[in-house]
């Protein structure tokens, strides 16, 4: 795969991932390669950032290793086949359910049915520990963020923003349209695997 690596300040490299590849899959491949000098790898919607141990690291040797890995394959794809599906039970009674239905010109029960029916995948995590941006949802449910973010959204709130669904792992400020809630624990730092959702995880919302 032919991509450009650009420095992102003194201690990170930025990779724009072509449409044909999946940013989460590319980030996972870089993480699993355990390249010397890399402290972390993080993916977004279509960008992957490689964090270097410190600006003292010879970033040229890291760049060389990263480039070699990227060139080793034509494209990076996720492999949902064989992946365990994480089921998240939801009660659909969120404060923005009516507003979402109105915006999408659907009935509330239609919104619930459509949200329920889709199979999702974690495109990337961000915003807060354990917060996964879930893609694969029904296109008819695309909604803007709230014009005024709430100062506090309870843990377990299930929301929509743009093409994404997401679950707030902990209480905090938030601008997503809240349609329901879950009792699932999304993040527990004391567990060996702290996050229920990781980039690539397949998710279904169940009753």
């Amino acid at each position: 795969m032919d991509v450009v690596l650009t420095p992102l300040g003194p201690a990170a490299l930025r990779i724009e991932v072509p449409q044909s590849s999946d940013a989460a899959a590319l980030a996972a491949a870089l993480r699993e390669a355990r390249i010397d000098g890399i402290s972390d790898v993080s993916g977004g919607e279509s960008v992957v950032v490689v964090y270097l141990n410190s600006s003292m690291v010879q970033s040229e040797s890291v760049q060389h290793s990263v480039t070699a890995l990227l060139e080793s394959t034509d494209r990076f794809e996720c492999s949902p086949a064989g992946e365990q599906v994480v089921e998240i039970p939801v009660v659909y009674d969120g404060a923005d359910l009516d507003a979402v239905a109105k915006h999408c010109a659907l009935s509330v029960s239609d919104v619930i049915a459509r949200h329920h029916a889709a199979q999702y995948r974690v495109a990337f995590c961000g915003f807060a520990p354990g917060f996964g941006y879930l893609t694969g949802g029904d296109q008819a449910l695309a909604v803007p963020r709230r014009s005024r973010p709430r100062t506090s959204v309870p843990a377990g709130s299930v929301g929509l923003a743009g093409v994404y669904s997401g679950v707030y792992p902990s209480e905090g400020p938030g601008g997503w349209q809240i349609i329901g809630r879950t009792n699932s624990v999304l993040f527990d730092a004391s567990l060996p695997e702290p996050s229920l959702l990781r980039p690539g995880t397949v998710v279904r919302f169940v009753s």
Partner: protein, 284 residues
């Protein structure tokens, strides 16, 4: 053991941060001014990653429950031991039973208190850093907290005093090129070169908010991973320089990246301070 008698405005346990979890939405955190933090550790012969305390605007008072050696770096605060003032940026020997008060700084915001051997604080995901954004790590210190001392072996090199450049009311920082050039034009570059930005009062460990409206295109970028020092430009044009507790992904275009020395200075900038950016390594 040390006992916190008064934490002052904000006292946070920090180490060099939480690495390896960005893909789960966990940021690195760590000291806002890394240089002062590592210097404080060096002065007491600790490894750079020993656990210490970040103090906001002094006012911290503690009781030494053992003989200890400590150092305070970052601002010009006095280190007052049983009523006797010592300087900052030097190591101070304290006897068991002594009361240590960190005075208010005349310049700068944040002090780092390092104790010989480091502090023994439980790690969360491999780090004892308090992340004010995610809530991970120890809670802010309160009066009555007892903190055990770790016994990490000293490193060889010893310095007993460090010359420092304290941050004043006008700050210069180097700015490296950012990833979203197409969101900004040459007019924005000229504006940045000519403008003294001002630090806003609602700045914190997540970001230093600056006044000075930069021109940018309308819209949002697809969320992408951020770095410490990223100069994000929200729709109103007033930039935000991300500090230690930055959110790992963001949706505002990034004009430039503040270099590491610049981040340390911004972390010491008081509200109202003037900030000038010097673009380094930009084409054209």
């Amino acid at each position: 053991m040390i006992e916190v008698l008064d934490p002052g405005p904000l006292a946070l346990v920090e180490d060099l941060g939480r690495l390896g979890y960005a893909h789960l939405g966990v940021g690195p955190s760590g000291p806002a001014d890394r240089r002062s933090f590592t210097l404080a550790n060096r002065l007491v012969r600790n490894r750079a990653d020993a656990v210490g305390i970040e103090l906001l605007l002094g006012g911290f008072v503690m009781l030494a429950r053992a003989d200890l050696e400590l150092a305070v770096c970052g601002t010009d605060s006095d280190v007052v031991v049983d009523g006797r003032a010592h300087g900052s940026h030097t190591s101070v020997i304290v006897s068991e039973g002594a009361e240590v008060a960190i005075g208010p700084p005349s310049r700068g915001l944040r002090n780092y208190l390092a104790v010989r051997g480091g502090l023994a604080v439980d790690a969360v995901l491999g780090s004892a850093a308090t992340d004010t954004m995610s809530g991970l790590g120890p809670a802010p210190l309160r009066a009555g907290d007892l903190i055990a001392l770790a016994a990490t072996a000293p490193v060889g090199v010893s310095v007993d005093m460090a010359p420092v450049d304290l941050v004043g009311s006008e700050i210069s920082v180097d700015l490296l090129p950012g990833p979203h050039r197409e969101w900004f034009g040459i007019e924005t570059d000229r504006f940045v070169d000519a403008t003294q930005f001002e630090v806003d009062a609602d700045s914190n460990r997540i970001g230093v908010r600056l006044s000075g409206a930069m021109q940018r295109r309308d819209g949002e970028i697809a969320s992408e991973p951020m770095v410490r020092g990223a100069l994000q430009v929200p729709p109103d044009g007033n930039p935000i320089a991300l500090l230690a507790d930055f959110p790992v992904t963001g949706g505002y275009p990034v004009y430039g990246i503040v270099d590491s020395g610049g981040i340390d200075r911004l972390a010491q900038a008081r509200p109202g301070a003037g900030v000038r950016f010097f673009r380094r390594g930009w084409e054209g």
